[in-house]
């Protein structure tokens, strides 16, 4: 089993608040893992740690065989470790096509070119358009991002990530705020992504998690409580108690 992404003993605290304690995760190539846990369990923090937006206090992070613990975020993206955001983090005044074209240009090293017009980057534009088409955003590709429907903006989050040709994709609640019927559609799009991409996604809707994840990691209070197949997790008494129990209290 080749690992796409793995962490060893990752720790992080803010003052006395421990947000990650001895986190060890192994995400094999092409797998779809879900990361679940109650609010404040440290799921988004873990994504921030893995993508370099936060520095861990201890431990190491590997992309494939490469130790990326010390690399800045943009560098990790260029190596293939890419994330999306729980709260839309887009370019409001750029059109969907411009946004994705920008991401493609950054990947192929053309974003520093200032002496040629954007229309002459035909290959990059074509690629961006194909990505938007695959996520059914082609019809609105020339609209400014701020004018897109919320669900379309969620898809654009994923489109931007895909434009970087990720090896590992970390999706932070990709369907956050999306109505239930649209959320299934969104996860169908995610499930349809290339099997070359390993995916770790955070999601609160258990139906979605059990349907799309091959394995589930449960986090509580900055620690990994348990990891297993959907069947194992759904029958685990600790998960029932800690996770589902708390969820009922809201």
């Amino acid at each position: 089993m080749t690992l796409a992404l793995s962490t060893q003993g990752v720790d992080k605290s803010f003052g006395s608040l421990v947000v990650a304690r001895d986190i060890a995760i192994s995400l094999p190539q092409g797998e779809r893992y879900a990361l679940i846990g109650p609010n404040g369990a440290g799921k988004t923090t873990l994504i921030n740690l893995m993508t370099g937006m936060l520095r861990p206090d201890g431990g190491r992070i590997f992309l494939g065989d490469e130790d990326i613990t010390a690399l800045p975020p943009a560098e990790r993206v260029r190596l293939g470790l890419v994330r999306t955001f729980q709260i839309n983090t887009l370019f409001p005044q750029l059109t969907a096509l411009e946004s994705v074209t920008l991401a493609v240009c950054e990947r192929i090293g053309q974003a520093g070119v200032w002496w040629r017009g954007l229309p002459s980057e035909r290959a990059a534009v074509d690629e961006a358009y194909e990505i938007l088409k695959s996520l059914r955003l082609a019809a609105v590709c020339n609209r400014p991002t701020r004018e897109l429907a919320y669900g379309q903006q969620r898809l654009l989050e994923i489109a931007l990530a895909l434009a970087t040709r990720p090896k590992v994709l970390l999706l932070d609640e990709p369907a956050a705020g999306v109505p239930k019927d649209e959320s299934t559609e969104l996860f169908n799009a995610i499930a349809g992504l290339s099997k070359d991409i390993a995916i770790l996604f955070i999601e609160n809707d258990m139906n979605v998690v059990f349907r799309f994840a091959s394995r589930i990691i449960v986090m509580v209070g900055g620690r990994i409580l348990v990891e297993g197949t959907p069947a194992e997790i759904s029958s685990d008494p600790r998960v029932r108690e800690v996770y589902l129990g708390k969820a009922h209290h809201g």
Partner: protein, 331 residues
């Protein structure tokens, strides 16, 4: 939502090409810049100053309007260009075009050196850094009397005829032609730049600096690059002022110049390429007219204009006009 993929509005290439195409209003604008030759031949000196200020405002627009780097010390580069070309000519080389290049090079090199600091900060810190750098350079030039002439200004600047033939005249005919041509050429460069992949990356930084690293973008490298280009263009503007006036006053490095230019950009509309040009035309003509009425108080009127514009036209006069135009087209 009912649009299909075959309608022209979703053709990606056609849409992008349309963004870079010359608008008839643009052509009209550049033709109008020739009007002073025929309508106001007595104002060609003022026209040349406006063209120089417009070029400086354009350089500020590249960093402020496109990359979102707010600078209150951009006159540093204008002044560097002005002094560099002036000192070069004082020491025996008065050829204008190489003088412009020299001004651009000096300003560009200093711009590149400082860009390493600039690229690491944002917001208020950045404003204060640029402001501090501007003040520092002003006092350095003030102190270095032996090199710059200090508060007395740099004397003894002699500019040779352009191409060895065209003399600078008292009426500003050559000065305006020369400044206008340089402005237009560098405008073409800027226009190409903002419609390039690099221009798109700059807008990306302005729109969302958090997302840029998440798509693998080296934002700091982009910022260093545009800051250097902007500084070099500001240097050309400064050199133009030296060459058309054959003197350099300490004022070229002043805070007032940095602030005035930021005001022009806000008045005209930042991030629209023409905003700085429109803004400098309005500002300079207003200054000329109002200071004729009451020399001390002309900033009063600029103050009113600025307040009205930022309250009612958040994207400047140009932004207001284009909104109006869009509304008129789509009733």
């Amino acid at each position: 939502m009912a649009m299909t993929a075959s309608t022209p509005s979703t053709d990606p290439h056609a849409w992008l090409r349309r963004q870079t195409r010359w608008h008839p209003v643009e052509i009209a604008f550049w033709l109008a810049t020739l009007l002073p030759f025929f309508l106001f031949p007595n104002y060609l000196v003022l026209a040349s100053q406006i063209a120089i200020t417009a070029l400086f405002a354009l350089s500020l627009d590249l960093i402020l309007g496109y990359a979102g780097i707010v600078s209150l010390g951009h006159a540093a580069f204008f002044g560097l260009g002005a002094y560099a070309s002036g000192i070069l000519s004082k020491h025996g080389w008065g050829e204008p075009l190489t003088g412009l290049l020299f001004g651009a090079a000096v300003a560009g090199i200093v711009g590149y050196a400082t860009s390493f600091i600039i690229a690491r900060f944002r917001h208020l810190t950045l404003i204060m850094l640029t402001l501090g750098f501007g003040l520092l350079l002003f006092e350095l030039a003030n102190k270095a009397h032996w090199l710059t002439g200090g508060a007395d200004g740099l004397q003894g600047v002699k500019i040779w005829p352009i191409f060895g033939r065209i003399q600078f005249d008292l009426w500003g005919y050559t000065a305006y032609s020369y400044a206008l041509i340089v402005l237009f050429v560098l405008f073409l460069v800027c226009r190409r730049l903002i419609h390039s992949p690099f221009g798109l990356a700059l807008r990306g930084i302005r729109e969302n600096s958090v997302r840029m690293p998440a798509i693998g973008a080296p934002s700091a490298a982009h910022i260093r690059k545009i800051y250097t280009i902007s500084a070099a263009i500001a240097g050309v503007a400064g050199a133009l002022l030296t060459q058309t006036t054959e003197t350099v006053a300490l004022e070229v490095l002043s805070f007032a110049r940095s602030a005035d230019t930021a005001v022009m950009l806000v008045l005209g509309g930042a991030g629209m390429l023409y905003g700085g040009l429109i803004g400098s035309i309005i500002f300079m003509i207003a200054r000329d007219q109002f200071s004729g009425i009451a020399p001390q108080y002309w900033y009063f009127w600029i103050g009113i204009l600025l307040i009205v514009v930022v309250m009612f036209l958040p994207n400047g006069i140009l932004g207001g006009l284009s909104t109006l135009l869009a509304r008129w087209r789509k009733p």
